[in-house]
């Protein structure tokens, strides 16, 4: 583990947050992300984990990406199609390195604790895909360091028939592609009063006049007055999935699941129908930032499929489950349920260069996202979290501080932080895009509302700075927060903040210009030392969901003689897992089969007036059950085998002899 605090730059920001104009010497520096697993290291790391796991981990392949590289897949547990399974996916966005580390942390834990892994995975399977986009990490390892969200570019971002004709350029020769701010009255950004290091969009309604442009570091190589528009020209795998696919938007791909790596994932899901839950580490988020409580779909489940419309919110029967899982997750992170919700997943007000998409808001990330596809199109549990964010980091820091200082005990159920001004201030670095109404001052709880309207799908390239809704001019409460986060970050890794270094920009020779801001990836991935405290709750998350998978078992089976060679077979199937055997969306999407039963009859036997197979209704979690009764004719006796088969909840079977009454020994409660 590298030293989390390095001092490599010539100067550091002043604590008062004022613009540090003399920062940076341009000397080659250590990357702030040392310690993250590179592409070259990943297969070796996985092989080591597998070989050290006492047979608990098996390194396999998800498939191949567009360049023919194998995408590693680690399997833990049986891999049998009849057992419940859980899939963890990380690294769909090339910038999201922390997700890969959190996925590896789970594998490391299982490898180091093979006995508990054996118990946990005795009748279920965990699949982990630690990294899907194999290009992004090499982009920042390369020279110069830079962020790359998509796979290596084959996309003609500006549709001019040329590929890669305007990449970023390292103007100041410091080995890093950073941001450039150019003083320009046509720019849409202004300095935050008192915090000139940070820019935010000017709000025209309030009479603010923009003063700065923000560009990616580099020249307009092709002279089209767009700066470095082909810097990140590849498809973002995280936006390539079919549900709410962002048509015509940059980086989404030519069509739904057009990319080989994304297709490998959806094929894997189609072939492994027993996967009942998927956890995605990335910018999609329904765990750290819970879904809005008031927004649920209520489709008529009994109506035929004719003219059905796609849903835009979870079905109301599923939403409480998703909210509960999010609550459990936040609690495991040491955050009270009432912690300010939007800010937890916040990356701060992004200083967004004109030609590049920034860190997507949760709403944006849901468009074409994998977790959305899993829920809406596969009818299975789709969970997602960034795993870490500046908002989360600041909330945790504040939590610790607050607990020490005032012991505020905010963990009570339903406790709302808005009652406590100042709580979680640090986390209030608002999500610049999704929380347009986050203007209510310090500590106001904001729940993200409706997703962006369809018009936002249709106006790619128009999402300029002016459209990004920042905080109102009179709401400066988040300013200290961004500064606080920067200070926190710099305190652990001075190279994460580049400062603002004056340069003469070749395309703007007469205008004041600075290069710097956050170092690439610094707002997305914490210094690696943070992983020590971040890994345990995420290991716990995976273990918890594994344990929560539906588990359908027989509870009671009896075969009573009625005389005249007739018998009544009664059996009860029960779901001993936490999740239902079929989400409402599993039914609505018609992608999850109902649990069924099959009766194995001895020779000459028959079910009276019906088949020896049938279906059960929905089995709720935590003991939901259904009793089935059938009349049998058993002319020559013999045992009847009862088998229940659930697509997501596994299988169970028990043979029963005439006159016998069996009750599963470990079942709670008595027989009915």
């Amino acid at each position: 583990m590298p030293d989390p605090v390095r001092s490599s730059r010539g100067s550091r920001p002043r604590r008062d947050g004022s613009l540090d104009r003399d920062v940076g010497s341009g000397a080659a520096v250590a990357s702030p992300w040392d310690g993250y697993t590179s592409d070259a290291e990943l297969p070796r790391a996985l092989e080591r984990l597998a070989s050290a796991s006492a047979g608990q981990l098996h390194l396999e392949s998800l498939g191949t990406d567009a360049q023919g590289r194998s995408i590693p897949l680690m399997r833990a547990g049986s891999g049998r199609p009849e057992d419940p399974a859980f899939l963890v996916v990380a690294g769909l966005d090339g910038r999201h390195l922390i997700g890969t580390e959190l996925a590896l942390a789970v594998l490391r834990h299982l490898s180091e604790h093979p006995d508990s892994a054996r118990t946990l995975l005795a009748d279920r399977t965990l699949y982990v895909v630690p990294r899907v986009d194999l290009d992004g990490i090499e982009a920042w390892r390369g020279t110069p360091h830079r962020e790359q969200a998509g796979i290596d570019g084959t996309a003609d971002t500006d549709r001019d028939g040329l590929l890669g004709e305007d990449p970023a350029d390292d103007l100041d020769g410091d080995g890093t592609i950073a941001l450039v701010r150019v003083r320009d009255p046509d720019g849409g950004w202004i300095e935050r009063p008192g915090h000139p290091d940070f820019l935010r969009p000017a709000v025209a309604d309030k009479g603010e006049v923009g003063a700065w442009r923000i560009l990616v570091e580099g020249r307009d190589d092709d002279g089209d007055e767009h700066w470095n528009e082909e810097e990140d020209a590849g498809v973002r795998l995280s936006r390539n999935f079919p549900t709410r696919f962002p048509w015509f938007e940059r980086g989404s791909g030519v069509y739904q699941v057009s990319e080989a790596a994304a297709r490998a994932l959806v094929e894997f899901l189609a072939e492994h129908r027993n996967i009942g839950a998927v956890l995605v580490y990335g910018f999609e988020d329904n765990l750290l930032t819970p879904l809005p409580e008031g927004k649920a779909s209520d489709p008529d489940m009994d109506r035929g499929r004719w003219n059905r419309q796609p849903l835009d919110a979870p079905i109301k029967a599923d939403l409480p489950l998703l909210l509960e899982l999010a609550k459990q997750y936040r609690e495991s992170l040491g955050l009270p349920n009432g912690a300010k919700k939007v800010s937890l997943g916040s990356y701060g007000v992004a200083m967004t260069p004109e030609e590049l998409g920034d860190i997507p808001s949760r709403t944006e990330a849901a468009q074409g996202g994998l977790a959305e596809f899993v829920y809406y199109a596969r009818g299975r549990l789709g969970l997602a979290t960034p795993g870490w964010s500046p908002g989360l980091q600041m909330a945790r820091a504040k939590q610790d501080e607050g607990t020490d200082r005032k012991g505020d005990g905010d963990g009570s159920e339903g406790g709302e932080s808005k009652d406590e001004p100042g709580a979680n201030d640090a986390g209030a670095a608002t999500d610049g895009k999704s929380s347009a109404d986050a203007t209510g001052g310090s500590g106001t709880e904001v729940v993200e509302t409706a997703p962006a309207g369809p018009e936002s799908h249709d106006t790619p390239g128009e999402t300029g700075a002016g459209e990004r809704k920042g905080p109102g001019a009179d709401d400066e409460s988040d300013l200290t927060d961004e500064g606080a986060f920067r200070d926190w970050l710099v305190g652990r890794d001075p190279s994460a903040w580049l400062g603002w270094k004056p340069i003469t920009h070749p395309d703007f020779p007469d205008q004041e210009a600075f290069v710097g801001g956050y170092a690439p990836l610094a707002r997305i991935n914490p210094p690696i030392a943070v992983l020590d405290s971040l890994a345990p709750p995420h290991v716990a998350l995976v273990e918890r969901v594994l344990a929560q998978l539906p588990r359908v078992r027989l509870r009671d089976v009896r075969l009573d003689a009625l005389g005249n060679g007739l018998y009544e077979l009664r059996f009860t199937a029960e779901n001993t897992g936490y999740l239902p055997d079929r989400l409402a969306q599993g039914q609505y999407s018609a992608e999850v089969r109902p649990t069924r039963f099959e009766l194995g009859l001895p020779g000459g036997a028959a079910v009276m007036g019906g088949p020896s197979r049938g279906f059960l209704g929905r089995l709720e979690g935590s003991g939901g059950s259904e009793e089935v009764r059938r009349l049998l004719r058993l002319p020559s006796g013999g045992k009847v085998t009862v088998k229940v088969i659930s697509e997501l909840g596994g299988r169970d079977e028990h043979p029963i002899a005439p006159g016998e009454h069996w009750h599963r020994p470990d079942a709670k409660g008595g027989s009915r």
Binding site: G161, P242, F245
Partner: protein, 598 residues
């Protein structure tokens, strides 16, 4: 630096003659057979329509299985090697090749830059005449090159990709297996439709071995159905509430193969290839037949890859059958088209109505039904082709050339039988059924329903639809541009392509794509030989208003054109001598001209 006056480049799209015009075809014998019957030219006189004395003789009054269609394509390719290329797009689930012909005059122009039209059919396996329609189109184009001016010009200037069946599995099963008119619509990946863990275990059965899947009924004094009083051999009608029927209907001919108490509940396949395309794809619960994810099927993926690999495809046609409709996007209300695109598609559909009696120009979601993930939408929106989806008429509409009311349709089977003069009904004589005791039944024979035309209408269907296809003349084509040296843009005259040519009404890009800056590549007008100082597009040929006046660094004008028929670009240049003006449109071909700058 000496500043020269502007000169103009005027560019306009290709001409199109829409509708059927006289003097089209050569003369031909009425019936051609592939077993070449000796035709005595002194005794036979060709009728208008099909080509006279074709090199490849095809019985267009017959249907062909996949091998038969492929053989037609191979024969045509062998007869016209300079005008065609045999292509294979991919393989089906059961390994059949998806075959087609590329048709263009290879010796004139670069085929890769000619505006192209993609035409397929038969995505639904039972919609068989769609396959013959595409094959007929190939035959007609190839046999008439050099004979019919319109066809000659089409193959010189344009390119056609003709793929008769993109569901070869369904097509072959429909012809070779027992079936009714509706079976084998989808593909052959086994699907567990009833969720019992078994796949395709209980399809219909041809109980009497006559090759027909009829409908079963059982005599029942408490039944709710009775034979239609007027057409007892053809129709069953449901009785009124206060009436007693004589039969109970039992569905398609078949047994309970898997002993689950249900009959024919899990037949072969179980999905719809025309719901598997990645434009607004939705899962099974929203859209029946969607299959696992977009392009999860080998057939749809192969076609999609092919179309996207040919960005010069500017128009597409995808043939279905039944109903007499010229369908256009969108398939769902929420996926509205750009208004200008919708106007264009509607215009073409209306021209089709005039060529295809009994057909109606319809918007899919509004006039028929909602479709998510259909080929029509994908082709129109994602592949960005002007696309129409004609569905062949039922014979009834064609026979009587009128819209039938609901009541009339009831009687159509009988009238059809009368006009066709042959047996159109399949009969299931009383038979011992293992699940129902004695049953009987009947129904429309496989090829005699309203879905598939009889021989004498088949030829008409094929020809009329082919004629509609030739609205490909409306594809964009950069035909010419005029300009010249001179003063102050007074040279902005428009080239006139000739009295018989009308503007190509399909723009080089749909408005949707102008708005979204799609697809890659624009329509640059480049000038070489003199230095370009500025360029601008003029709104009116002789007018003073210029929309912008910037030039790219390489002396090009590369803003999108929104005008479907012509655009005028003026260049302000320095220098003198010969200037080469070159126009290059991804979907409109290329053209160049040299002018002298004084």
């Amino acid at each position: 630096m000496r500043t020269r006056p502007l000169f103009a480049a005027a560019v306009r799209s290709a001409a199109a003659v829409l509708g059927i015009t006289g003097g089209l075809g050569g003369l031909l014998p009425l019936v051609s057979t592939r077993v070449a019957a000796e035709v005595n030219p002194a005794q036979t006189f060709p009728a208008l329509g099909a080509p006279d004395d074709p090199k490849v003789r095809v019985s267009w009054d017959h249907f062909n299985d996949v091998a038969g269609l492929t053989q037609i394509l191979r024969d045509l390719n062998a007869a016209y090697p300079d005008l065609s290329e045999f292509i294979v797009l991919g393989r089906s689930v059961e390994g059949r090749e998806i075959t087609g012909l590329r048709v263009t005059n290879e010796r004139q122009g670069n085929p890769d830059t000619k505006p192209a039209m993609y035409i397929d059919g038969n995505i639904h396996g039972n919609e068989v005449q769609a396959g013959e329609t595409v094959a007929y189109t190939a035959w007609y184009l190839l046999e008439n090159y050099g004979k019919v001016d319109r066809v000659t010009r089409l193959l010189d200037e344009k390119e056609f990709f003709l793929v008769p069946t993109i569901n070869p599995d369904g097509r072959d099963h429909w012809f070779h297996d027992p079936a009714n008119p509706h079976n084998f619509r989808g593909g052959m990946i086994p699907i567990d439709e009833d969720g019992d863990g078994l796949f395709d275990e209980d399809g219909p059965d041809d109980m009497d071995g006559d090759g027909q899947i009829t409908r079963m009924r059982i005599a029942d004094p408490w039944g709710r159905w009775k034979p239609d009083p007027d057409y007892p051999d053809f129709l069953m009608v449901e009785v009124d509430r206060d009436e007693r029927g004589t039969y109970t209907l039992l569905g398609q001919e078949g047994f309970d193969n898997d002993g689950d108490g249900e009959i024919n509940e899990d037949d072969p396949g179980g999905y719809d290839p025309n719901r598997n395309w990645p434009w607004l794809w939705q899962p099974e619960g929203i859209q029946y037949g969607a299959h696992d994810y977009p392009f999860s099927l080998p057939e749809t993926k192969a076609v999609g890859d092919f179309v996207l690999a040919h960005p010069n495809i500017a128009a597409a046609q995808t043939y279905h059958h039944n109903g007499g409709m010229i369908l256009r996007s969108p398939g769902s209300e929420s996926a509205r088209m750009e208004r200008a695109d919708d106007d264009l598609f509607a215009f073409i559909g209306e021209r089709g109505e005039s060529m295809l009696p009994g057909y109606h120009s319809y918007v899919l979601w509004k006039d028929l039904y909602q479709v998510w993930g259909g080929e029509l939408d994908w082709s129109s929106r994602c592949a960005r082709c002007r696309t129409a989806s004609p569905t062949s008429c039922g014979p009834e509409e064609n026979l009587y050339r009128k819209d039938l009311g609901e009541g009339e349709k009831d009687a159509s089977a009988a009238r059809r039988s009368c006009a066709i003069c042959s047996r159109t009904r399949a009969v299931l004589n009383e038979i011992d059924h293992p699940d129902y005791e004695k049953v009987e039944g009947g129904g429309t024979a496989k090829v005699s329903s309203g879905r598939v035309p009889p021989s004498f209408l088949l030829e008409e269907e094929l020809h009329r639809n082919m004629a509609f296809t030739l609205t490909a003349e409306a594809m964009p084509l950069i035909l010419d541009h005029r300009g010249g040296g001179g003063e102050r843009g007074r040279q902005r005259t428009l080239a006139h392509p000739g009295r018989d040519r009308q503007p190509g009404i399909i723009p080089t890009r749909l408005h949707q794509d102008v708005r979204h800056e799609e697809p890659t590549g624009q329509e640059p007008v480049q000038v070489e030989g003199v230095r370009v100082l500025a360029a601008g597009r003029f709104l009116i040929r002789t007018g003073p208003r210029c929309a912008g006046s910037t030039a790219g660094p390489s002396g090009s004008w590369s803003k999108p054109w929104v005008d479907s028929s012509r655009t005028w670009v003026e260049f302000l240049v320095a220098g003198s001598g010969n200037a080469r003006i070159r126009v290059d449109a991804l979907r409109g071909g290329t053209a160049e001209r040299t002018v002298s700058v004084p």
